[in-house]
Amino acid sequence: MNDHAPHADHAHEHPTWKQYKWVALWLTLITVFEVWIYYTPFKETPYYIPLLLVLSATKFAIVVLFYMHLKYDHKLFKALFTGPLIIAVCTLLALFALFSHRAIPQ
């Protein structure tokens, strides 16, 4: 009954097993690195937190782009995900800023 199968759905290429392996390797390496620096004096420097944020954002992006194959998928899905993600991140930053400064003079 499904002869006029939805077009375009499978036209895109998926990442391959080779890529999957690399992705997994990178994820592991980054995680190991993150945990490792947690135990180094680097933790006390002001660069620690930004570095961690960058690293986890990288992991986040890798999983979304390859495992969730967003990189290869329809642009609609990119929009459906990045739009909300941006709003969520901005809201989080705004809330964080609102709660972390003592507002009232005196």
Partner: protein
């Protein structure tokens, strides 16, 4: 929440974009989940350092009776569970590839094509993660941190608990797929069923990536 990914057996009609309805819906659902976890994570961050009694995540604490509490978070253990969850994502993509490529050379009859194995492995790794979490929760309770203790306890358990609930739902979903696979075998026509489950599963993984950094590694 499950309702959002419902209607699994809907037939594939003509669609405007050529995409399947269920896949559109799951992405919308994932977008929505971003806001859900944003609220949980924000609350955790806002309340960090605001508890008036211990235990605390990263600092030791002595209560008025002189009892000393260690910093509560156990990085080595959580690193392991994080690794488990990351690997579950790997086997998840393998499961999807196995179903999608059923019958193709390189998959037919090979390890790579064994979708049942990969589905089972994903579910098992998810369950392992949950086991770690159960261990973590009980040891925290033993160390004096419950959901009632302080702001940290409330926000920590609720945040990680919500994530754990998502993992649980994912494991159930995977087991359902596994049982279908065992019963009648998933074919490339069913790839979408696995795909939407995989998207959900990876998203839950991605949330953990954020939680691991923001909650565990950053002081």
């Amino acid at each position: 929440m499950a309702s959002a990914v419902a209607e699994v057996h809907e037939h594939t009609h003509y669609t405007t974009t050529g995409l399947d309805n269920r896949k559109v819906a799951i992405w919308a659902f994932i977008g929505s989940e971003c806001m859900l976890f944003m609220s949980l994570i924000s609350t955790y961050l806002i309340y960090k350092g605001k508890s008036i009694v211990g235990p605390f995540p990263h600092e030791a604490w002595t209560d008025p009776s002189g009892h000393v509490f260690k910093p509560i978070l156990n990085i080595p253990v959580t690193s392991q569970s994080t690794f488990v969850l990351l690997m579950s994502s790997l086997v998840m993509v393998l499961a999807l590839a196995a179903v999608e490529n059923r019958g193709k050379p390189g998959y037919q009859g090979t390890l790579l094509g064994n979708s049942k194995l990969w589905l089972a492995a994903t579910a098992a790794l998810g369950a392992t993660f949950l086991g770690y979490q159960a261990y973590e929760f009980t040891s925290f309770v033993h160390e004096g941190l419950t959901i009632h203790t302080n702001l940290f306890g409330s926000s920590f358990f609720t945040l990680t608990g919500f994530h754990g609930a998502h993992v649980t739902a994912g494991v159930l979903w995977l087991l359902t797929l596994l049982s279908i696979d065992i019963k009648r075998g998933l074919t490339p026509k069913d790839a979408l069923l696995v795909d939407i489950c995989a998207l959900y599963w990876h998203f839950v993984d991605v949330v953990w990536i954020a939680i691991f950094t923001l909650v565990y590694l950053i002081k």
